[in-house]
């Protein structure tokens, strides 16, 4: 019984809407979902890093998923939510347009992402999508939170430090 439960926990995904697609995040990464709150800007940071929020005394950075996916930014409204995720001890908030639901996607229903030839937009998303989950008639793009946070960021950081070093010399 308990094994069965753990199993179901494993296959659960929090889904949210961004643009026209639905995305899924493994539930184990999700700490909590909070309503949108005032964000303090951080100067000189990436455009998708919106700033800092105060989560009950903990200060955490938030990123806008739409901007991250190179979609047009939209005004935040009362449906805007922040999904607080914890990836390898980095706690980050994701601003999403709308939270959908928690769904169960069996391992067998997850397909590898399509190859990156379809179009430009798909291509940018592909970096973060590790699989496509089928839920009834719909599909959810399953996100790899690690890549969502790091990827580019790391490269940029590396570049930045290289530049600094060059300057230093």
């Amino acid at each position: 019984m308990s094994e069965f439960e753990t199993q179901t926990q494993l296959d659960k995904y929090v889904t949210f809407k961004s643009g026209n697609e639905y995305f899924g995040l493994k539930i184990e990464y999700v700490n909590e979902i909070i309503v949108y709150q005032e964000i303090t800007e951080i100067p000189e940071s990436e455009d998708y890093i919106k700033g800092l929020i105060n989560l009950r005394g903990k200060i955490i950075p938030v990123i806008d998923v739409r901007i991250r996916f190179k979609q047009e930014p939209i005004e935040y409204n009362d449906r805007t939510c922040i999904i607080v995720i914890n990836v390898k001890d980095t706690v980050v908030g994701l601003i999403v347009e709308k939270i959908a639901e928690v769904v169960e996607i069996k391992q067998d229903d997850i397909l590898p992402p399509p190859s990156a030839t379809i179009g430009h937009e798909e291509k940018t998303q592909n970096k973060y999508v590790y699989g496509i989950g089928k839920v009834g008639e719909n599909v959810k793009l399953l996100l790899d939170p690690d890549r969502l946070l790091k990827d580019e960021e790391l490269n940029l950081l590396d570049q930045a430090t290289e530049e600094n070093e060059e300057e230093g010399e």
């Binding site: 005032e38 303090t40 800007e41 951080i42 100067p43 000189e44 940071s45 890093i49 800092l52 929020i53 105060n54 005394g57 200060i59 955490i60 950075p61 980095t90 706690v91 980050v92 946070l149 960021e153 940029l156 950081l157 930045a160 230093g168």
Partner: protein, 724 residues
């Protein structure tokens, strides 16, 4: 049998305690390194420290550490017992330091999860030779001493080589009830018996250090288990009934009885006969308390006689692997000083965080919008609020003081470095410490230890000249390095000063020129001393022609500076050629809570440390001047200061610059002044500093963030970064 029985906890305690002992040891040794010999107290203390380390290492089965500490213990045992007067003191000091180093390095290995695999043989041989040397010099036979490997012979004597000729005795001593200091009398008896004993145990065991045992001895008698080759008559000869001793009962028993005969409920100590003395001792440290249980006396002599058992007597077992050890293990040793407890740093940090949040929550409540209704009577609320503010301020002060630690330990380490380096280099150096009791936040101490070490090494290696050079320059042959600490204007100033040759301006300039650091159109003389000295803090800059073991590779000063900057500190260099140089580290007292000025720019809030703010100036647009390349400055009382518009600097989204309604904040860092242009000043407040999450890359001029009274977040400006 669980070999893994909570070993991590054990290990932590082991590392912590021995770390402290080693530190203390080093302190003693360095304090007296210049004397002719150690005084009695120090010898005793070193001896005890080594003994404890040996014991606990034995329990943890770190054999090499056990071996080397055992050896050093032997040496000090000899020193203590024989008081030889021909000991080459410096050599001894070096030996002790070597051992300390060896054990420390082994402990680091253990801490990092490795095995202590170092080989102590060299040191052991060296110590053996040393011991032989001092013994032979005295012309005394060292045999007896060598056997007395255990440290506190006044308490135990175990030589587990039972021969068939041995007799086993149980001895019960009853003292006159009006005898004073019965424990001392008991000890006299034990001491006498020790001469003939092969194995001796007694109860109560802690008769020397624990005076309360005196009463117990009077009440329940004093019990001795003895293994010896002598007859009962001989024993009677040694222990005679007399003024203090009312009754002496000696019973002979068999080896078997001796080994396992005593048993009692819950208060026995099991001792593995083949294990070492220390185990018994470490055991009794924790276990001693149990014997003072009130019901002990109820078990009365009658029963003791019948069963030939008394509560609290020892049960001695033959070797059964693991068992004895396991029992020893789960008793944490008592702390050296009862008034101190050691707390996990993480717990302290957690407490600190919580108090930080409490401070914030408090301001959320007290500045709550709901209270700002006009006409609301808040007298009682304000009274209560005042009380609460007072308590939370006290709480803050207490937690801050808990985190404060004196610099003493860090300074002691420097003493050691001076000693080592100067001896290796053949320089004679006097090391002076001033103000080592200055207290600094623990986090900061961790950060300044390395920079301090670099500076001290530099002083010894580069600063102080060789004795002949010094003599030629008309100075005393003995150089002097002074390490001092003081608190000034909210910062700690740590100064490393030497009376050596000072920095060589020409050499530095030449090197800087070679490395292309100088402006080719500027003359050497255009650079101030301060600018010149700053060059040595650049990476890869060393004027030392030859690389020594300690310095000269050009790494160091830049590390010093970057380490200091990371905690908001700075380094100042002063030097007088031929007279010596002085390195001043200026470090904030604490990182956790600062006094800050809250400012607003557009919708964002910023905070700057109160200490750097010189003055506030109301802004009028006609004050602002700008030069052709766009940089702006203001004239204030005839002085000209550059202006930094925070809003533009950070390209805040909703920022509109409005010159007529802004404020200028004049800040000063290291004599450089700059004006910050902000929209509004909000107020002065205690700020709990929180780091900007790692996820966001470092932004220039920001040192952290904090939460304001209304729950919003403000960014903390780093004055030094802004001026840069």
């Amino acid at each position: 049998m669980s070999a893994e029985f909570n070993t991590q906890g054990m290990l932590d305690i082991y590392l912590f305690e021995n770390g402290q002992l080693l530190e203390r040891l080093q302190e003693i040794v360095l304090e007296q390194k210049d004397d002719d010999c150690f005084d009695d107290d120090s010898i005793n203390e070193i001896f005890r420290a080594m003994h404890t380390i040996k014991g606990s290492s034995g329990v943890m089965m770190f054999d090499e550490i056990t071996r080397i500490s055992h050896k050093l213990e032997d040496v000090f045992f000899y020193l203590r017992e024989s008081k030889p007067d021909n000991v080459p003191h410096l050599e001894l000091v070096e030996h002790v330091l070597q051992v300390v180093d060896f054990i420390s390095s082994e402990m680091i290995k253990i801490q990092e999860g490795g095995q202590p695999d170092g080989d102590a043989s060299d040191y052991v041989t060296a110590l053996d030779q040393f011991l032989d040397k001092i013994k032979n010099g005295k012309g005394e036979k060292g045999k007896e001493i060598k056997e007395n490997v255990h440290v506190e012979p006044e308490q135990f004597y175990i030589a587990p080589m039972a021969t068939s000729a041995s007799h086993f005795y149980k001895i019960y001593l009853t003292f006159h009830p009006d005898v004073q200091l019965a424990n001392v009398h008991a000890y006299k008896t034990v001491y006498a018996l020790k001469e003939m004993a092969e194995d001796l145990l007694h109860y109560p065991e802690d008769i020397i250090s624990d005076e309360s045992t005196a009463e117990e001895i009077l009440e329940n008698g004093f019990k001795i288990l003895l293994q010896a080759q002598c007859s009962e008559q001989d024993l009677r000869g040694v222990i005679q009934e007399g003024y203090e001793l009312k009754k002496v009962d000696i019973y002979e028993c068999t080896a078997k009885e001796f080994q396992q005969g005593f048993d009692s409920i819950g208060s026995e100590i099991r001792i593995d006969l083949e294990s070492s003395v220390e185990e018994i001792e470490s055991k009794t440290d924790g276990g001693g308390m149990m014997f003072i249980a009130p019901d002990v006396s109820v078990e009365a002599p009658k029963e003791a006689e019948k069963k030939a058992i008394a509560p609290g007597d020892f049960v001695i077992e033959s070797k059964e692997p693991g068992k004895g050890k396991k029992l020893v293990k789960d008793k944490p040793k008592k702390m050296e000083k009862a008034a101190l407890i050691s707390v996990d740093v993480h717990k302290m940090d957690m407490l600190m965080d919580l108090i930080g949040e409490l401070v914030i929550a408090e301001s959320v409540v007290l500045q709550n919008q709901d209270l700002k209704v006009p006409g609301l009577r808040l007298d009682n609320f304000n009274k209560a609020a005042g009380q609460m503010t007072k308590i939370s301020t006290d709480l803050q002060n207490v937690i801050m003081s808990m985190r404060m630690m004196p610099l003493t330990n860090t300074f002691q380490k420097m003493n050691r470095i001076v000693f080592d380096v100067s001896r290796k280099l053949g320089k004679e150096i006097e090391f002076e410490m001033v103000g080592e009791h200055t207290e600094v936040d623990k986090n900061i101490i961790e950060h300044i230890s390395d920079p301090m070490m670099h500076l001290v090494r530099n002083s010894v290696d580069h600063g102080i000249e060789m004795p002949d050079e010094r003599a030629a320059a008309g100075k005393t042959e003995k150089g002097k390095v002074t390490l001092s600490a003081k608190t000034e204007s909210g910062k700690v100033w740590i100064t490393v000063q030497d009376n050596g040759k000072g920095l060589n301006r020409q050499k530095i300039l030449a090197k800087a020129r070679k490395q292309g650091l100088l402006d080719p159109y500027k003359m050497d003389n255009d650079y101030t001393d301060k600018e010149v000295y700053q060059f040595i803090t650049l990476p890869g800059f060393s004027t030392n022609e030859k690389v020594t073991e300690y310095s000269g590779r050009g790494v160091g000063m830049d590390v010093v500076v970057s380490n200091l900057q990371s905690i908001g500190g700075s380094l100042e260099i002063e030097s007088t050629p031929g007279k010596g140089s002085q390195m001043i580290m200026k470090i904030p007292l604490t990182l956790a809570i600062i006094d800050g000025i809250v400012m607003e720019v557009g919708k964002s809030s910023f905070v700057i440390e109160t200490g750097v703010v010189k003055e506030f100036i109301g802004m009028r647009s006609d004050m602002m001047q700008s030069d052709p390349d766009g940089s702006e400055f203001v004239m204030i009382r005839g002085e000209c200061y550059p202006v930094l518009r925070i809003g533009e600097w950070y390209q805040l989204n909703d920022y509109k610059s409005d010159l007529d309604n802004g404020m200028l904040v004049l800040i000063e860092v290291e004599k450089k002044m700059i004006c910050l242009f902000v929209d509004r000043l909000v107020g002065k407040q205690e700020i709990v500093v929180k780091p900007i999450p790692d996820y966001i890359k470092k932004v220039k001029g920001l040192s952290g963030c904090t939460q304001l009274g209304d729950g919003s977040i403000a960014l903390i400006l780093d004055a030094a970064g802004l001026i840069e």
